[in-house]
Symmetry: C2
Subunit: 237 residues, 2 copies
DNA sequence: CGTGTTTTTGAGCCAGATCAAGTACGGTGG
DNA sequence: CCACCGTACTTGATCTGGCTCAAAAACACG
């Protein structure tokens, strides 16, 4: 297997000790000595929107920490359609499952330009046993993934199409700065929310018409977070 | 806090070394010496259907390994209704989140008569750091919870009401012996599948009428697993 | 500037929600 | 033992949000 496949761009060897998002990242708890222990360097890679980080069933030899961007994990259904089971962004780890199994459980595809650090599973396994802080960080990543999955079920798979769209916009805005977010294709939007592409499109159009969201450039939206939150939280009351 | 609350029955101190489901359980990897290390004994508790194991927001001081039975994790929505986010059974661990946070994230309620072992979080934390097998087992539990959540999204929150019901029946039969399962109230059924109670009821009635499932006693169903599987897997083709 | 792709919009239909009765069941008390 | 009651389940009638099928519009790209 080549280090640099057609679908990715190697952008350098990571300098973890001086990482600018280090405090929130998997290797936060490591000491200089630990890094000397790593036999292979940590590579930084870059993916354009639409490029594949890994495919379900691939040999799981690496974990990835997302530095910037947005990645979808998809599960393909027997009929060929996809259901997106998670969206991951800054400081999330993908591929954690290969600390246990041998292969990736989902396909991971970038939805925006995305930068990641690639970590060898073997090193993470070895180091996390002795290092209580890394152990804790790894477990925190599991917890985070599970919490996200719970939110996915309660917020993005429940309620009307309109509400689901709003909750997703709010969710996206949490991981960006300010009251805006950048969205992706209507097809992916539908696959996230368990709706058809048409319904996803209609819901967006409706929100735009009502002035609840504004699109200043292609798929770049801004909105009044408080107002939107009020809409989806006010049920009965 | 009392060791035995009104909603639970203490049934003895667990003898983990001779546990009959030990190979599949959290403390599988522990040695005799480790058990001597535990300051408090491991209690076994029993819950009747409908009783609460813990509530969302409670202080998370214990993990529970399920020995027999079925437990729902629910998330209450602002309007007072519930959405069930996971169903757990034999060898599953609930309350894992309190290895990181301080409180339980969901309410855990028994759907059937349920036996559990109660493990002090502090011990699991302490032991899992030094013991590579326990570390691995704990992580495997996270993985399992996450895989279940993924199935929940793709199988139980997607497709027609009928298909969802069938997938749930198949899911339940996996964790029981043979081609049968015991079900629970229609209200909970709806909360699992994201459907109304009425639709859940109608779907069950329809399956009965079509002879695809048989109810030999109250909420005890048997069916042809292969036939049901064919129904939900055959989409397009 | 034409061609393929994605998004939007329209019209009609249907699955599931809602509202409303009716029925079965388990428990309780006379 | 039976009448009564509360709860859960079932069934019916109607309504509607989202799906389906189809076409137009906007856009991306060579």
């Amino acid at each position: 297997m080549n280090r640099i496949t057609s679908a990715e761009a190697w952008t350098g060897v990571a300098d973890c000790l001086n990482c600018n998002i280090r405090q929130s990242v998997l290797f936060a708890g490591l000491e200089e000595a630990d890094f000397r222990d790593l036999h292979r360097p940590i590579d930084q890679l870059q993916f354009a929107a639409g490029e594949t980080v890994y495919r379900a069933g691939d040999d799981g030899v690496s974990l990835f920490t997302i530095r910037t961007g947005l990645v979808k994990l998809t599960h393909y259904l027997p009929d060929g359609s996809q259901r997106i089971v998670r969206l991951l962004s800054k400081t999330d780890v993908i591929g954690l499952e290969c600390m246990l199994g041998n292969v990736y459980q989902h396909s991971a595809i970038a939805l925006q330009a995305t930068e990641v650090c690639r970590l060898p599973v073997s090193s993470v396994k070895r180091l996390s046993l002795g290092n209580s802080r890394l152990f804790h960080t790894v477990m925190a990543q599991w917890y985070r993934a599970l919490s996200d999955a719970d939110r996915w079920i309660t917020e993005l798979s429940t309620g009307t199409a309109r509400d689901r769209v709003i909750r997703l916009l709010l969710w996206l805005s949490e991981r960006e700065t300010g009251n805006s977010c950048s969205l992706f294709s209507r097809e992916d939007l539908g696959a996230v929310l368990g709706l058809t592409t048409e319904t996803a499109s209609r819901s967006m159009a409706e929100l735009k018409r009502q002035g609840l969201i504004r699109e200043h450039s292609l798929n770049q939206f801004s909105f009044d977070i408080v107002a939107l939150r009020r809409i989806v939280e006010t049920r009965v009351g």
